[in-house]
């Protein structure tokens, strides 16, 4: 079950990104820095949509890859934290899964 305050992330709308060869390449226009995600990172990235929590994305990851639910959630949360630190994902306008607007 989701935490009442589980944050909802969305891709930073200012980014340019493309999937190529199973990997995701992201460019932050402000500094033209290139970021890359491997296949599982790309899977998580594709499902970061401002609607799904980390737990929901982790459940999708578990359905696609052979991985325990604990590791799927830990990996998803770790990647989201890293992406948020680089401003590649930002909090969605509706904030968190616990918001009354959801």
């Amino acid at each position: 079950m989701n935490s009442p305050s589980a944050p909802l992330w969305q891709k930073n709308p200012a980014l340019a990104w493309r999937e190529i060869d199973g990997e995701t390449v992201i460019i932050s226009p402000g500094d033209s820095v290139m970021h890359e995600l491997n296949d599982t990172g790309s899977f998580i990235w594709k499902h970061v949509d401002g609607q799904r929590t980390a737990a929901e994305i982790a459940a999708l990851l578990r359905s696609e890859y052979i991985v325990t639910s604990e590791i799927a959630l830990a990996d998803t949360e770790a990647l989201l934290e890293e992406l948020a630190g680089q401003r590649l994902v930002v909090l969605a306008a509706n904030g968190s899964a616990g918001d009354s607007s959801r």
Binding site: A16, R18, V25, P29
Partner: protein, 259 residues
């Protein structure tokens, strides 16, 4: 000489075509025009319609907001689809820099980009050797037969009529010679790595994009422009074979290149 609207004598415009992108430079004075005529001699061509570049000091206020603007060491440019204004251009070096920056933007709708790369034509096909300063671009150019070097510093790549072509540019590096105003279909992209041995290894498209991107000249921070650039580069690395090239400072490295 011509007269401007105020009756002052102004030099005749200079028409250039770099990578088949026609530009018309309306110089404010004869000095910069004559320096440019010498520097870009091989790239003078009149093709209509030419993209107009005007020089102003200080920078004029465009009648509408510019699509792209950039400042570099006191010089600046502002441009849109109709034309460009350069300001603060005091010498040929500044003009050269602004032309590179402008071209990087003007090429976007033409499915093209500028790359820090030497390009050598061999048997009618362009071998594009990418790398930053010190990677060996000028070394590759100096080892190539006379007349086969399109550029030793900045290559212009465009997707034209179903194929990627490399064009020479007048932007030279240590080779100290302007590039050749010709083009050839691209045989491959090669990431230069100086090495005691010669060997070549194919790169996957994602790997090629990773190798090329740091060598792409691009200055816009606009999101849509960056997305367009990424689309163009993705198309290029998916359609053109790319390789890591370990090479010695001898001509023998050609022996390991794919035919």
């Amino acid at each position: 000489m011509l007269d401007d609207h105020a009756g002052r004598a102004v030099p005749r415009p200079l028409d250039l075509a770099i990578g088949c992108v026609p530009m018309r430079l309306h110089f404010p004075g004869e000095d910069l025009r004559s320096q440019s005529l010498e520097r870009y001699e091989g790239f003078c061509a009149t093709v209509e319609p030419a993209y107009p570049i005007r020089f102003e000091s200080p920078a004029p206020v465009l009648p509408h907001s510019a699509d792209f603007s950039y400042q570099f060491e006191g010089a600046s440019l502002r441009c849109d689809k109709v034309g460009a204004f350069f300001s603060g251009v005091r010498h040929a070096y500044a003009l050269d820099t602004l032309l590179r920056i402008l071209l990087s933007w003007v090429l976007l709708p033409r499915t093209g980009f500028l790359l820090h790369a030497a390009t050598v034509v061999r048997q009618g096909r362009a071998y594009v050797f990418a790398g930053r300063s010190g990677a060996g671009k000028s070394t590759v150019a100096s080892l190539a037969p006379a007349g086969s070097v399109l550029t030793d510093e900045i290559s212009l790549l465009r997707y034209e009529e179903g194929q990627w072509r490399a064009h020479g540019t007048p932007f030279w590096g240590e080779f100290r010679a302007a590039g050749s105003n010709t083009s050839a279909p691209v045989a491959g992209f090669f990431r230069l790595i100086q090495s005691p041995r010669n060997s070549v290894r194919a790169m996957r498209p994602a790997e090629a994009l990773r190798a090329l991107l740091p060598n792409v000249l691009f200055f816009s921070t606009d999101t849509s422009a960056n997305r367009r650039l990424l689309d163009i580069l993705t198309q290029a690395v998916e359609q053109v074979p790319s390789y890591h090239l370990d090479f010695q400072r001898t001509q023998n490295f050609w022996e390991v290149l794919p035919a």
